[in-house]
């Protein structure tokens, strides 16, 4: 794997897609297609494939539809530092995953797991978390690759190169942002795990607002903040990650109100 620190605001992102190959506008899965890695950019070593499995990235015994609380059509999101096996490079991993119908986006049939994973250098994240999250919000999609695209292209594609925005657009909730900054500061030297769940309609109106606000909060942290690698973000996922886990769960407030 060739992920390493880059200069300036450019971020280099290696990509891996797991799921099935699709056809047509509705991205229907033909009966002939089965599960597999459908795209791997040139900088990723195939021997790391299993480490990018959603269950492993989320620390779950198995990843099933029960782990998803997802209203986002692009898939639920996880952002975390890569597990220890990637050391010393230990990149940042961003994953979108969802269960989509095999008979197309508006289909009603059997569903299957479609995941898109980005691996980027950790320094870009540390330098500009706001820009990284804005980029993920705009471009990271759990969308199947097309059967019509040649395998040689899908498995030899270049890494994505993007310039990170220093001040991306996106509504920020000042009160919740301040709360997140407080929380991160209070846990800086405590070494304890911490899970904070935000719901829709009260804390944030959408995932985009959650990402913008948390990104802004993280951008206020000093680069030598001691627990950068412990910070993880989840959106639309019911599980939790060790360390400082900030989770956005659309159904959370509704469930609390019902209780």
């Amino acid at each position: 794997m060739t992920i390493g620190p880059r200069d300036g605001d450019e971020i280099v992102i290696e990509r891996l897609h797991y799921g099935k190959l699709a056809v047509g506008e509705e991205l229907r899965i033909p009966p002939s297609e089965g599960f597999g890695v459908t795209r791997r950019s040139r900088g990723l070593d195939p021997s790391f494939d299993s480490d990018f499995a959603p269950a492993r990235l989320l620390g779950l015994r198995r990843f099933d539809a029960g782990a998803v609380d997802d209203t986002n059509p692009h898939g639920c999101l996880a952002v975390r530092s890569a597990p220890a096996r990637f050391a010393p490079l230990a990149p940042l991993v961003l994953m979108r995953t969802r269960f989509r119908p095999e008979d197309g986006e508006r289909g009603q049939g059997r569903r299957y797991q479609q995941s898109a994973i980005w691996a980027a250098d950790f320094e870009s994240w540390r330098r500009n978390p706001r820009g990284v999250l804005a980029l993920a919000d705009a471009e990271l999609r759990a969308r199947p690759d097309l059967l019509s695209e040649e395998a040689s292209r899908r498995f030899q594609s270049e890494a994505l190169r993007r310039r990170l925005d220093r001040a991306p657009a996106g509504a920020v909730r000042p009160a919740t942002t301040a709360y997140v900054v407080d929380l991160l500061c209070s846990y800086a030297y405590r070494g304890e795990d911490c899970l904070v769940t935000f719901g829709e309609g009260c804390d944030f109106t959408s995932e985009a607002e959650f990402l913008a606000s948390v990104g802004y909060a993280l951008s206020l942290l000093p680069q030598d903040y001691p627990r950068w690698r412990d910070i993880s973000l989840l959106s639309g996922l019911r599980c939790a990650l060790p360390g400082i886990c900030l989770r956005y769960l659309p159904s959370y407030r509704a469930a609390q109100r019902a209780a």
Partner: protein, 316 residues
């Protein structure tokens, strides 16, 4: 005494392995099988801990059986394809509460570990290059060899036109040649049996319930199976049976195949306005999905399990 055994589900993708498993406990509880009603089997999903420790854990009020409940919910919602990132284990306790030969009763209760895996792992489409993680392949290979019983789940399609029959034949050949194989029982289960009767309306269940019809269907289906010789080689050390199954089954009361033509995709009939699984329960009765598991565990034949001898006998 308690007998523990592992059963592996194998077959092509979309063959109905997970649906067969998801409908298993309902089939047993509704007695929708071809065994004598006097057998009175009971099947409870249990935890991995209960399976490994072998002792009963009294959780009378806890109906959430974890992974199996999730599988049943997914099945009710239209199904979720099993991924290739791992193999998945489900555990059950089987007891027989009725009339059964003492030598069989003495073996029970039975603790079953059922291994479900994506079809792409063992039977990928012919000619396809499916990128499966090596550790998952190795794990499932080990589970197949170590299992006491194997259930081959095949969709009721024209085998000669299917895109996986070559890989299926190679898998059976490799199993037959393996000296490490522990399987004592092998069941070939043709799924989606109800689809053969969609034009028969309310008479469908009457015909489907006739073992002679099932035997005729199996004979026709197996005519084009190039892997029969491999299975025959397995028969020297294992009991091989053929059966038909239907996870969707036939509707209660109306008796027609339980596929709602007015729903998009393939859905069972359901009561409008009632959410989740409860909407299906008024009509849903799976058919014979217990057969492969009960034979795999007990070695007992039902009216719908057929041996090579029965399949090859001249039709009367």
């Amino acid at each position: 005494m308690t007998e523990k055994l592992t059963i592996c589900l194998v077959g092509p993708k979309r063959g109905g392995k997970s649906s067969l498993l998801a409908s298993l406990t309902d089939c047993v509880s509704q007695s929708a099988f071809g065994y004598s009603p006097r057998l009175r089997p009971a099947l409870q999903p249990i935890s991995a801990a209960e399976f490994s420790e072998g002792r009963r854990m009294l959780e009378i009020l806890d109906s959430d059986a974890g992974d199996y409940e999730r599988l049943r919910r997914d099945f009710a919602e239209g199904g979720v394809a099993t991924d290739t990132l791992d193999t998945y284990d489900y555990f059950f306790r089987l007891t027989l509460n009725g009339a059964v030969a003492p030598e069989i009763a003495a073996r029970g209760p039975w603790l079953l570990q059922v291994v479900d895996a994506a079809g792409e792992i063992a039977v990928p489409p012919d000619g396809a290059k499916v990128a499966i993680l090596n550790d998952v392949k190795d794990k499932f290979g080990g589970q197949l060899l170590g299992a006491e019983a194997i259930i081959l789940v095949l969709p009721m399609v024209r085998l000669e036109d299917s895109g996986w029959v070559g890989n299926m034949a190679r898998l059976i050949d490799r199993l037959a040649q393996s000296r490490e194989r522990r399987a004592r029982r092998i069941v070939v289960a043709f799924s989606q049996y109800e689809r053969l009767f969609v034009r028969l309306g309310p008479s469908a269940f009457t015909y489907a319930c006739d073992p002679a019809v099932a035997l005729h269907v199996l004979r026709k289906a197996l005519r084009a199976a190039p892997w029969l010789e491999g299975l025959r080689a397995l028969e020297t050390t294992a009991a091989v049976r053929f059966t038909v199954t239907s996870a969707y089954g036939f509707t209660k009361r109306w008796q027609n195949p339980n596929i709602d033509p007015h729903q998009p995709g393939e859905r069972r009939f359901r009561r409008a306005g009632i959410e989740e699984a409860r909407g299906f329960n008024e009509f849903w009765r799976p058919f014979l999905t217990a057969e492969p598991f009960l034979f795999a565990a007990l070695g007992l034949d039902s009216a719908f399990t057929f041996s090579f001898q029965q399949i090859e006998a001249r039709p009367e």
